[in-house]
Point group: C2
Chain length 673, copies 2
Amino acid sequence: AVNEDNYTWRTCSKSDSSGASNSGCESSKESSRSSTPVLDTDRTDRLRDKMRRRTESGDHWFSLEFFPPRTASGAVNLISRFDRMGSGGPLFIDVTWHPAGDPGSDKETSSMMIASTAVNYCGLESILHLTCCNQTKEKITGYLSKAKRLGLKNIMALRGDPMGADWEEEEAGFNYATDLVKHIRCEFDDYFDICVAGYPTGHPEAESYDEDLRHLKEKVDAGADFIITQLFFRADTFLKFVRDCRAIGITCPILPGIFPIQGYQSLRQLVKLSKLEVPEEIMQVIEPIKDNDAAIRNYGIEQAVGMCRVLLESGEVPGLHFYTLNREVATMEVLRQLGLWIEDPRRTLPWAVSAHPKRKVEDVRPIFWASRPKSYIYRTQDWDDFPNGRWGNSSSPAFGELNDYYLFYLKSKSSKDALLKMWGEELTSEQSVYEVFTSYITAQPNVAGHKVMCLPWNDDPLAPETNLLKDELDKVNRRGVLTINSQPSINGKPSSDPIVGWGPPGGYVFQKAYLEFFTSSENVTALLKVLKKYEPRVNYHIVNVHGQNTTNAHDMQPNAVTWGIFPGREIVQPTVVDPVSFLYWKDEAFALWIEQWAKLYEDESPSRMIIKYIHDNYFLVNLVDNDFPLDNCLWQVIDDMFELLDNPPEEQPAEQTAEQPNDEQSDKEQPGK
Amino acid sequence: AVNEDNYTWRTCSKSDSSGASNSGCESSKESSRSSTPVLDTDRTDRLRDKMRRRTESGDHWFSLEFFPPRTASGAVNLISRFDRMGSGGPLFIDVTWHPAGDPGSDKETSSMMIASTAVNYCGLESILHLTCCNQTKEKITGYLSKAKRLGLKNIMALRGDPMGADWEEEEAGFNYATDLVKHIRCEFDDYFDICVAGYPTGHPEAESYDEDLRHLKEKVDAGADFIITQLFFRADTFLKFVRDCRAIGITCPILPGIFPIQGYQSLRQLVKLSKLEVPEEIMQVIEPIKDNDAAIRNYGIEQAVGMCRVLLESGEVPGLHFYTLNREVATMEVLRQLGLWIEDPRRTLPWAVSAHPKRKVEDVRPIFWASRPKSYIYRTQDWDDFPNGRWGNSSSPAFGELNDYYLFYLKSKSSKDALLKMWGEELTSEQSVYEVFTSYITAQPNVAGHKVMCLPWNDDPLAPETNLLKDELDKVNRRGVLTINSQPSINGKPSSDPIVGWGPPGGYVFQKAYLEFFTSSENVTALLKVLKKYEPRVNYHIVNVHGQNTTNAHDMQPNAVTWGIFPGREIVQPTVVDPVSFLYWKDEAFALWIEQWAKLYEDESPSRMIIKYIHDNYFLVNLVDNDFPLDNCLWQVIDDMFELLDNPPEEQPAEQTAEQPNDEQSDKEQPGK
């Protein structure tokens, strides 16, 4: 374990000018009164503490290294990969620093932005690499301040390769990673967890293996929390290195860098760059099959699995660090064979948690963004406080405007071509839109034979939970009740339930049935009549793009629709239907018709006009059935609406028939803007 | 309705030196984000808004006037009366100002303290009377500041009777109630709701009825919110008065002051003081029966009911104000006959709410003080924030010390003699203590033939809810498991359930089973062995008077044991078992053995030594069964403990038998003090 008294940076005389470290401590103290009961330890621990806890429990874990992509679409792909590989449960991921690629910029492909996206939008504990060679202190401090602002909490401190051959030591500059470690501790005190690199066969530029070990000791003494090694090909290489480190007093965790061989060329290139020698026994296997990619990959997996087993069995290795080369298959296969890839279907909360430190207490969100968690995180990124325990009477939640629909992390994973195939090259009527929804719900091909894998409001196929409602959803979408969000009622299922469960084991989860859909104003007129029969059992909010709004929400209060009861904990209620934020969601939900769907078609084209018509005239409706112990009545509500439309009561001449829902309340209930 | 534009005080040029009004507004804004979902309107409305809401709904209501008592035991009685009469649902009570009785002091009998107790400890909306005659502005401002600090929000502004016959108008002083109203508005802006007195037959000192009406108009124009009238004997008197008020532009609510005649002497005295004439038709009935108290009271009730019916049917009377003379019977009977006395068995929360403005968001409390809510309010009176939505990880809740056991509002309602009869004139063994507990639980007389109506930890007979557990409680108390608090498990009963329900209708309430008791260290040793079988289903905390503490609470987190789900609301979880505040409760729970029980006996007497022995050696235990949907297992836990004690496994010589519960954690978990 790390002995903090050894940290030489603690004697650093420069006081912490930024106040960085203190604010970190204080904020965790401030929020202690109301921290998230379910996730306390996981969300409030810093990486080195998580690592220690896992290590002490004898649990093996893994981490994954990625490099920043070159293109925006590469970034979209990498972020999807983060989501997929994140589901296997890495302790952290790290993102390399590309000095030539404007690594600290706001470009969607920069090291900084990729690491930030991993933390903020994918909820992954992340380490940002940082190289100091040829950089001024001001520049480095700027990078670190920006990283901190973005919610990054861990830095891999590296020297980096000198830019030119004429590199010489500068008196006041950064000559070694040690200087960077000291600088981070001086300027940011204990805010960051710091990782440094270890070279099991010695750094290629070091005078000797022993000299290199002494440098490593200096880095650790300067304040590094743990070590990740360069790749190696024999378990013994690493185990000897660890013994040598321990012998000279390096006590912190040392993580082996694992490189599953994935191809002949990539191996040669990497070896050249890192000046490593590939052992003879490996070359002998590979050379004969060098043109057979599959064979090499299979060998790479086998070789990595064998080596990892030796490492884990040695008792010296708490976790394994993988150089993924931004690929999934080989690393995932190695992890699966080792039994370390654990896709836990249980969720800590019903929605995707962000790893930004200021969101660590967050445990309540409106249900509306259930399928667009990244958008929710984006629109609330400027909040100083996040609701926990209770959403509260959010009279004016400051949701960010969502103008930048092309924001790379909100982009659809599908191309324009793929979207047109799914959503129709040419729309002929509102009915053809209904069919797209129905195809999505039923997972049946559309008229053109393409499966509809996503909708503007859902970039992924139907959630397993929503599948429980499939038949009813199918029926109502066919008739123009265009559902975009729903959940069944749950009356106390175990928290370990594979479909609807979340939170720690031994608890019980509950839900109120929820249904959200677009539908025509004719339908809404009938619906409002029907809803009178369901007072006060059903709460509703009905709004059109112009903000014409009707609701029976009591005092505009939020309604908790998901909650959990756990042993020895307070109640957790992670999702609410909030009348106020619904009007902000409304802006986004309607805009997606235009931005994601209508704009696929030519200006003035009939297809575009149909979507535009729906956007301008349909209402967005949400319904909650408060009586969660009874059978969900929301389908009956919709049936009653269809029944009323199919068999309207004979009109009485004296009575005025409302063409539109009542808009008496619309002024009062629109968010001020 | 009140037209605020008419308030002349709004043009008052003096700025608000105390900032009083603003802080009132701000605090309600600050807390709006997390206000109590169940009680929003009731708890956040000010009196004039509540009055308007009730009036607009066509609902009739009543209010009750009391005067401060002369003695401390009179105060204890009056506070019990507040609790009893509060259960009938008055919109407010008011407490008269006795200039001769040091009315603004901290004495338990002062007007100020009685009104404060009504607000803080009895949860009643209260009006404090205040007379200004012969007072300096500084003195009056001092009274008002103190009232505000104590949580009082309403003032009845009166001139009061001049002290001597030589009273003359002072230029800069308070000559009329109007001056006081203006002063309150100047100094405290809109913080207080202000009530003024109306005289249906004219003020005795006024030049004329019309002149008096003009004075009343001035008081209202100066900023009064509503009017309560002097008593009268004929409905017509009041109704004419209201018509005359409306005619000169008085638009605020006018509440009739109702005086049920309760006795011949009290009527004569009151009439003399108020210079009223008793109508001939009343005197004719009363004179012949003037020595028959019961007959007069019956007549008084009949007369008041008849007059109130006329008033209510007139449509001019939103509510009735009763001059109770600090008596219960007549007023309650009138209210019952009018159908206005509504004892609603449903509670807004499972515990007694305080009406102090700073507690209006409070909706979570530890379960420990369930039978001692006034003590809890007292010990947390200095808190600036009250937990709502979630108790949170209260690492250091600053509970006030409870040194003043003689505090009048925490005093037992029973005398020392009565307590000795119930709890035993002479105790002979621990067993005789067990029998007192058993008698209390079963409501059967003790060996001396007296019913045990209270215990040091419960000043009232067993709650209906606890009665559900009576048989089991009886069994375990006989064997020295001395229960002081418990609740059954509830898995979703309607919120309208007469025994366990609370909160608004249409909801569902839940509970985890809870049991709290004192027991010997021998029992605790066995209990701890038994509890291993119930992990993680049962959470426990076990502590003795010295703070030796054992718990399996996860991270010392609170455990929600009561919660409710309501239509269109967030989850409400009003009671928790909090490991930290348990250690503060422990101090109180153990001290009650000595302060309330042991001290009944002579120093060094055997009875006192027995209680002292229990105090010094027993442990206080609480148990929570987390599996609320299953049958409560806590009785099985106790049975298992008895089984283990009755049939101990054969001791193995090598094994060390623990004499005491494990105290490894005691240092860590004791609150710092």
